[in-house]
Amino acid sequence: MTYKEIISKIKFDKIATHIILISVSLLSIFPFIWLISTSLKGNGENIFAYPPAIIPQDFTWANYTGVWDKVDFIGYFVNSMIVAGGTVLLNLILSAMAGYPLARMEFKGKKIAFFSVLATIMIPFQAIMLPVYIITLKLHLVDSVSNLAGFIGLIMPFAVSAFGIFLMRQAFLGIPKEMEEAAIVDGCSVWKLFWKVLIPMVKPSLAVLAIFTFIGSWGEFLWPSIVLTKESMYTLPVGVNNLQGMFSSNWRFIAAGSILSTIPILIFFLAMQRYFISGENEGAVKG
């Protein structure tokens, strides 16, 4: 191969790579693009027209204002925020508290505790959801009792996860023992040592846990659709699914509502994208 041939070969490879990657990217976003396109089409335009028009001919924002007036998106958003916020907060506190002794303390039953946590990884929520529902009912943690009880019921089954406990355990294992010794010599209690000295040192892991727990909780659909009975308690995924029933075949409204509901998580993703695509936190999201 001459020098020139090598250069032309490299160039071709690069172009081919870009063509494939652009195609995959387009396939990834096309369903959304088509949804956005439909949501911007007015009543004067046939949304089933062949050939399909990506650029709306009868452009309008009316579907967005229409669906906004009929559906309480702010309410769904607030509910989702409460549930995701509560889930994140509890996961941070409980995972850190449980991860610490598993990393740093010696005690009777440590092995049992460790393997019990590991065992929960193998138990899919989908297989135990029925008893979880029965227990939640028995504890009166449902929205028919009160809104607060409803929120607690939405949060509690996901208040801690094996993933979080192991992540925090790993983080505590990485702290040099001298830190603890120094604090203890200074007369610090173990409780104070934990909150004042160790927690600030595991902030990066807490951030990772917070972000992935938030995404998981935000998108959760199965559990809220089982327990919720009142529309005023709907989280965004449940509310969006409900659009199908509300507007049956009005795809302009369903499309506009779906896109509206996606905006918050899209902003969150773009702001936090390095956590997701850097590859450092691989495997953190539930598949």
């Binding site: 494939i20 505790a113 008893p131 603890e180 659909f221 199965l222 199908q244 369903i254």
Partner: protein
């Protein structure tokens, strides 16, 4: 190091998490097994103990076999594609080219968007007179009943799961690709090896553990699909897209047949536990210090 904490300190730290795991994992786990030995179909309030009758009924039911078959079909279609295609994409992205971050963001986008929105978006693509059927007819075929034809419904739903998973597994592969020694690639380049040869002889053997990991985690999540089916087909038409979690949901929460649903849940538990054990003890040992 001297012991600086009291005898009960470790237990107090563990207590809150242990309480949650006990109430919302371990008790429900045993209760699932327990419920599977009762019959609720005649009375919800006075169930009768029936030993293994639910299981016998289950394994004599053609619908259950259909559902189990659908679940494994789901797995057999989704898992190989999710194990291979994202690797291919990751290899392409892992080159010194422009726009890597943008590609990653766009390909990852389906992962973060709610599964409900994704399912609605695809339902719209799959509409009878929708955009996909436009291309199908343009190519000279009859329009396809993507979600209404029993031959196609399951495949149409699997496509959503695959589409939503590509970005996720791509990122896992990208992390693994960073660990492949660059000298090996340089050696290949000097030998003039082709793109495919280079990756077949260097990349694949090096990241085999990751491929195995992706295979098991995508298999576990394929076993658990629910929202796609709930939003798009409700398991229909004629049970053609019904998988095990959806069937458990339907039996438990719509038919209130708690015992029968629990027996199915036990079957699901056993399958997922086998996959998880393989995963933990073969591929994730290091993560858990086993």
């Amino acid at each position: 190091m001297f012991k600086y904490y009291g005898k009960y300190a470790p237990y107090l730290f563990l207590l809150p998490a242990a309480a949650i795991l006990l109430v919302f994992f371990f008790i429900p786990f045993f209760q699932t097994v327990y419920l599977s030995f009762f019959d609720y179909s005649s009375s919800l309030y006075a169930p009768s103990a029936i030993d293994f009758d639910n299981y016998i009924k289950l394994f004599q039911s053609p619908v259950f076999y259909k559902v189990l078959w659908n679940t494994f079909l789901y797995l057999f279609i989704a898992v190989p594609i999710l194990a291979i295609f994202p690797l291919f994409v990751a290899i392409l992205i892992n080159q010194k080219i422009r726009g890597v971050t943008l590609y990653k963001i766009l390909i990852y986008l389906p992962v973060i968007v709610s599964i409900v929105v994704a399912a609605i978006a695809f339902k719209w693509l799959y509409a009878d007179q929708g955009i996909l059927n436009y291309f199908v007819t343009k190519l000279g075929f009859q329009p396809i009943g993507w979600l209404t034809d029993p031959k196609w419904a399951l495949l149409s739903v699997v496509i959503v799961t695959i589409w939503k998973g590509i970005g996720y597994y791509m990122i896992i592969y990208l992390a693994a690709l960073m660990s492949v020694p660059q000298e090996l690639y340089e050696a290949c380049d000097i030998d003039g090896a082709s793109f495919f040869r280079k990756h077949l002889t260097v990349t694949i053997p090096h990241i085999m553990p990751t491929i195995a990991l992706v295979t098991t985690i995508s298999a576990i999540s394929a076993m658990k699909v629910f929202a796609e089916i709930y939003v798009m087909t409700k398991g229909g038409p004629l049970n053609s897209s019904k998988t095990i979690v959806y069937y458990i949901y339907e039996r438990a929460f719509e038919n209130l047949d708690l015992g029968y649903a629990s027996a199915m849940a036990v079957v699901l538990l056993v399958i997922v536990m086998i996959f998880s054990l393989i995963n933990i003890f073969c591929f994730e040992r290091k993560k858990y210090d086993l």
